[in-house]
Symmetry: C3
Subunit: 420 residues, 3 copies
Amino acid sequence: MISLIERLFPITRSITGDGVRETLSIINEHIPLVVHEVPSGTSVLDWTVPPEWNVGEAWIRDSSGRTVVDLVDSNLHLVSYSIPVHTNLPLDELQQHLHSLPDRPDLIPYRTSYYTETWGFCLSHRLRETLADGEYEVFIGSTLEPGSLTYAEHVVAGDSTGEIIVSSHVCHPSLANDNLSGVAVAVALAQRLASNTRGRLTTRFVFAPGTIGTITWLERNRDQIGRIQAGFTLVSLADGAPLTYKRTFDGRSVIDRAAALVLEESDVSHRFLDFYPYGYDERHYNSPGFRLPVGSFMRSVHGQTPEYHTSGDNLDLVDPAQLEEALDVLTRVIEVVDRNLTYVNQAPYGEPQLGKRGLYEAIGGKNIADLQLAMLWVLNLSDGEHDLLAIAERSDLPFDTVAEAADLLAETGLVQESVP
Amino acid sequence: MISLIERLFPITRSITGDGVRETLSIINEHIPLVVHEVPSGTSVLDWTVPPEWNVGEAWIRDSSGRTVVDLVDSNLHLVSYSIPVHTNLPLDELQQHLHSLPDRPDLIPYRTSYYTETWGFCLSHRLRETLADGEYEVFIGSTLEPGSLTYAEHVVAGDSTGEIIVSSHVCHPSLANDNLSGVAVAVALAQRLASNTRGRLTTRFVFAPGTIGTITWLERNRDQIGRIQAGFTLVSLADGAPLTYKRTFDGRSVIDRAAALVLEESDVSHRFLDFYPYGYDERHYNSPGFRLPVGSFMRSVHGQTPEYHTSGDNLDLVDPAQLEEALDVLTRVIEVVDRNLTYVNQAPYGEPQLGKRGLYEAIGGKNIADLQLAMLWVLNLSDGEHDLLAIAERSDLPFDTVAEAADLLAETGLVQESVP
Amino acid sequence: MISLIERLFPITRSITGDGVRETLSIINEHIPLVVHEVPSGTSVLDWTVPPEWNVGEAWIRDSSGRTVVDLVDSNLHLVSYSIPVHTNLPLDELQQHLHSLPDRPDLIPYRTSYYTETWGFCLSHRLRETLADGEYEVFIGSTLEPGSLTYAEHVVAGDSTGEIIVSSHVCHPSLANDNLSGVAVAVALAQRLASNTRGRLTTRFVFAPGTIGTITWLERNRDQIGRIQAGFTLVSLADGAPLTYKRTFDGRSVIDRAAALVLEESDVSHRFLDFYPYGYDERHYNSPGFRLPVGSFMRSVHGQTPEYHTSGDNLDLVDPAQLEEALDVLTRVIEVVDRNLTYVNQAPYGEPQLGKRGLYEAIGGKNIADLQLAMLWVLNLSDGEHDLLAIAERSDLPFDTVAEAADLLAETGLVQESVP
């Protein structure tokens, strides 16, 4: 995951353009992607795919001809989607196009202007304060032309048409935690799922630019979204904060309950956030027209660290152990969602005779083992209204024990999978 | 408010009679009232309007001819609705008609006997203990004759037929906190609402004798009560206790949520009580046949202070600052109820593009302002099931910010008011 | 209760056989029983009534002819349902048929093998460790033959066909707390109910072997169980632990709410357990096909004391005061369930005029008494959706006060019993 992040870090990405394509091309070296191109001007939900933006050189030179800000030094220097400019102007006019952070004077902020035609440069406040009065030459070698928006999908097929969505945004330039960490964990998760036993559910990975990319994906998959049984966005998984799960709008969907159970059964430092309609693409999945059960996994919360959306979000912030821990938890969450069937007890009147089916110890009178207790819970709660997660929650038994009990009971025909 | 209380304080009021009429006449000098007279004997719900009661002189004289108790000194001295009496009787027989408070020997209790024909005097226990054996002359110059029950209404009209009810009882004689304070705050609230911008809802003020007056009002307005969207009774608002809101039977109606939000957003010392079917006229509004969403605002709770229903509830107990604080809170509660619409998101698929409607900052990447966050909350929760109060509660944003966001979104057509 | 327990203690009971019959015969001396015999081989729900088991002698002798284990000393020495055996075998083979408790070396464990044909002896670990190498003679004079399973019922009739079930298992041999205490309390409860005023509900006492007996009862009463409005199993009521109520699957049924109210209104040390599908026969009553509202009363919880299912569960463990306390609570729980009607207010518009019906003090103005407050609560909550338990819970008034208020209101016709 680290090497993928390092390789993707220098690329100048935005919501459209060759930076996204190059990013997806590198991901494709690890997991096969289906790449989609959607022309500028296409209507997508309430939005329109914007012109494609690419940029070559971009710099500011002072009156002595010295380059004081250069895109080559950091792709955060240029406001994303800046229109092409080549002009001379005095410092006071230039200032209106500059962005810096007086409270964090060494950091370059990350700014965008996708839908309002303007231009600007971002720089450290310390550098900004050194700018002398006088004339400046500004050059932005960008193009804003009809082209396309690019996103990609990777599918790990399961036995049913039910789907889990894993969504990560690929539009941010040199910001490591937000969101190359999410991209890298998604790639590693896809690889791990592919190497595991084929699951019941299909897992669909979406790599798309934030907002407009997900909006486009939703527009083009409106007739498929009934398949989605669970999902999450992945973002900012590399820093030192506890693993954080943000709930779906519903708050009690399968993904919410699986995330709670897995994190609580684990010894991973973690916390939960209720849904709020801000943050990342989960806001679109959970919009009132869709209300898809898509939560979000993160560590630090957007906007709440000094490095957020600045040059401080660089490779130094990336902790490999944190990425691995997140990967393990996510793998387990998907396993639990996949395994979370609802059964119906076929002998619901009284407790059935487990002994004659070889499911009970011959000698009675002793205390009961967890697996046998789990069988009793599965039998009692398999009334068609409780899935295995609900049984694990109510019994306070480990999910795996409950699932193993269900398997044993299903083998003897005492319970059958509920067909919704 | 203080001067109104002082002017109303000396009047000998009961549930019928000239005391009520004089009280309503003085209120009418401040806000125009429609006064209703309902004849004795009229059936109202499970009750019957009683004979009208009026009283001139009432006193007890000892064997030496000295007046020991006189209605002129305090209109609490006479049990309300005492029948006319002129008789001589020994102390031990007189004792059966006397009421005092051994645990608060300096206070005269307030006692009534509206529906059982009897007579009695109330006096301080200290005075009662000085009564010497011997013959006493008792005179009660009361009349109990066919007449009418009097109540009044004042309306501050709004744009819709939906109504807020503000109800205060006007039957208590010289008791300042219970309930001249409620009457005075109601009058001031009506004046303030009239001076504000016309609201959506009509506010109807009911000034009626306790129980029988409200029962009569409910009987005569049975076909109108479907209009009532919220309401509250007002009582005992002048003392030093925290502002107290007693919930409706439902406990989660608009008035309950508005009262909770306003008090919690304020820095006013306050507390909440769950509904119980005792206290004041809210018990009738919340009876099972009506279940109207009518709460109650008070400070000290009836029956829980030593001054309750005694001569201790006098003008010394009235704190003008407490009346003003209550008035401010009530004004705000009515504003919130009035503003509490439910909207439906007209672009519910994904987050709509706020930028193209001028509702979003052009330069992205920064943290979000409360108003913009409120817009996202309104959009997400405007699924027809959440009113603005629900959005303020779930988002933990100030109600006004949420309402302003809804206004901005409604102006662009992104949300529309839900028509129930 | 103590003398009944002492008399039943020595009998060698199992799930079938003469031990059960003798036990029921002794109970029949105290309360009349209807005894049912169900032939071996009968299908009952998912089970089959097993062959009948009886035993005469059973012992182990060492090579010197000395009897080292003898059923005469404790009927726990023989694994229940051991097949007939007469053989000689070396110690190492014998060991495979022995059961002891290394962590409680002085106690003889209680073991059963009802449905797997085998044999075995239970003994203290201390005794087991003294067994020398060599040949042993083993004799088990048991019979396992077609016969019948025996259970019994006792009914305390009420005015309606609605029923309360009191269920206790009668299969354990010399174990005093589990479950002769439950049997003895059930017998005393039946006697007490018979001596009280006839109730609304019929109380049906079931004395049956654990699991197979209750399974048989359920099979044979499938068309009657709609009558069951509440119930509980009784077990382990003699020890020093707090009185413990284990809730039904539903958790909010009448018996759950009555048990909670009675225990909380009492000064009895107590605790509550949520339902779990293990323990005693409540698991069958609460199985998904039946979901009968049957809780369980106990003191120590099965499997959680060192004496559980060992020779330590003997007469020394029985505390008469604990039995009496349980009996008092159970009597009260049944009274509350029986009294828990739902009423409908016949004058639901406003508070009705209680005074004209003699239900209100003539002189008003004072604080209200609990009984009058209870009348207001009953009137307000008698909307057809609240039973008296719900009114007691919400009002925080004693149940008896609420019930007395309902009686007074019902006498005047202000409320009427709701017909479901």
